[in-house]
Amino acid sequence: MLFYKSVATFGRYLMLMRRTFSRPERMRMFFKQYIKEMSQQGVDSIGIVLLISFFIGAVICIQIKLNIESPWMPKFVTGYTTREIMLLEFSSSIMCLILAGKVGSNIASEIGTMRVTQQIDALEIMGVNSANYLILPKVLGMMTMMPVLVCFSIFSGFVGAYATAIIGHIITVDDLTLGLQHEFNEWYVWMGFIKSIFFAFVITSVSAFYGYTVEGGSVEVGKASTDSVVSSSVLILFSDVLLTQLLS
């Protein structure tokens, strides 16, 4: 029964995506929405990304320094490990999990409210492909902005690590800099971008699906918002394993 329900839900998701990824009725309107969504989903998330990444960068640096300190361990290990964690997992995967909460719930509740207040019906009556008009700019907008957010996250994490060195004197700036530069592999940055773009698609499309298919009132919109965050988080975690295996 659960399997049948899951397959049916996935089928409905694919059908919605088919309607979403069609040519926009008016490119002018699409670009207007696209720019708006990039601002709403991406630019408005920069603050939270910078804040969280700063503190996580600082905490990773402190934890690594305090927990693996040993005379046998080179001094650059702290900076090196901080960099690898930020590049490989935090700024792409964990940041996307956090954004699934912020952006995902926002999308699901916005589209869900439009559904229950008949705004989507109004679009359909006008002859507008509502899935394409509402969902496509959100998906593409977030996919465009996510690598930018990853860059901000990496940068802010490093700033946090430097803060522990400069303010907290946990590590010297030279050791940290040496660690951050040690055996830098550019591919890790691209890997983070690729993963984040995929996760951006998961967050926006899954949340939009939950919002678009809401039936009922405000309680159902709230439930759809929660379900969208849970589902997209689980999907991000699963696909993170696959993508990491695939791209490493």
Binding site: R26, T117, Q119, I125, M126
Partner: protein
């Protein structure tokens, strides 16, 4: 003109509409009335294409909605305007942007002409002064008027109104009724109103379809309603004291 022929609609095992046959004329305010749960909203949704009928035909000037291909359906939808129960204005847009939306989507006019057309529609519903306001900054009656302006922006041939007076005071309801009626005559549209407001029935009901438990029980004009001998219709229409007294006074 819209014709409905042998329309059936079921949800799983439950039959909601049963053999509906009716004609909605041009330039007239056609009303669908009935108790809550009688199937009038389902009928309206089948007519506008939001629900697919189980069987039957919905003919828009001879074009069957049910058998239309995607392109024909798309074109037909551009000839429709709809006023929803909740007005359904886009809350992220101003009143002017709401009215301009269908024009931005489908009109090939330049920006200045689109603004001019939207302002004409807003002026027609006496709402020009609220054009820069957002839907949550205006009253329910004003929202309905803005929704009417949006519905007529593309000069539709068919106008659908789902419970246009719900949540409005009697005076504002009259304003909305008169506005819909005047616009219908002025633009020679086929207007279908889904309502259970008896003031609307008596005020603008030129062609009234009474739905009872999913089937057509009665069809006629507001003048014929007073002399109807249909018991179900009478018990629905004259459920309130006021209308009973009006009927007795007429006798």
């Amino acid at each position: 003109m819209i014709e409905v022929k042998s329309l059936y609609k079921s949800f799983e095992d439950k039959e909601v509409l049963n053999d509906i046959n009716c004609v909605f004329d041009n330039g007239k305010t056609n009303l669908i009335i009935g108790q809550s749960g009688s199937g009038k909203t389902v009928l309206m949704k089948c007519i506008v294409g939001l629900f697919r009928p189980t069987s039957g035909e919905v003919l828009y000037d001879g074009r069957d909605l049910v058998t239309m291909n995607k392109q024909e359906w798309k074109m037909l939808r551009r000839e429709m305007g709809m006023l929803f129960q909740s007005a359904a204005l886009f809350d992220s847009m101003t009143v002017l942007e709401n009215v301009m939306f269908p024009l931005d989507m489908f009109s090939r006019d330049n920006y200045a002409d689109r603004v001019k057309r939207a302002q004409f529609c807003l002026d027609r519903v006496n709402l020009l002064e609220a054009q820069q306001k957002y839907p949550d900054e205006i009253s329910g009656g004003m929202q309905k008027r803005a929704a009417i302006a949006r519905a007529i922006a593309l000069n539709p041939k068919y106008l659908f109104c789902d419970e246009p007076n719900s949540g409005l005071d009697p005076k504002t309801s009259l304003v909305i009724d008169d506005l819909i009626h005047d616009i219908t005559v002025e633009f020679n549209m086929t207007t279908i109103i889904n309502t259970h407001d008896m003031n609307s029935v008596m005020g603008i009901g030129e062609n009234i379809l009474y739905i009872y438990e999913g089937h057509k029980e009665w069809q006629g004009s507001k003048d014929q309603i007073m002399s109807s001998t249909n018991e179900r219709l009478n018990s629905f229409i004259f459920a309130s004291d006021l209308f009973r007294k009006v009927k007795e006074a007429n006798k």
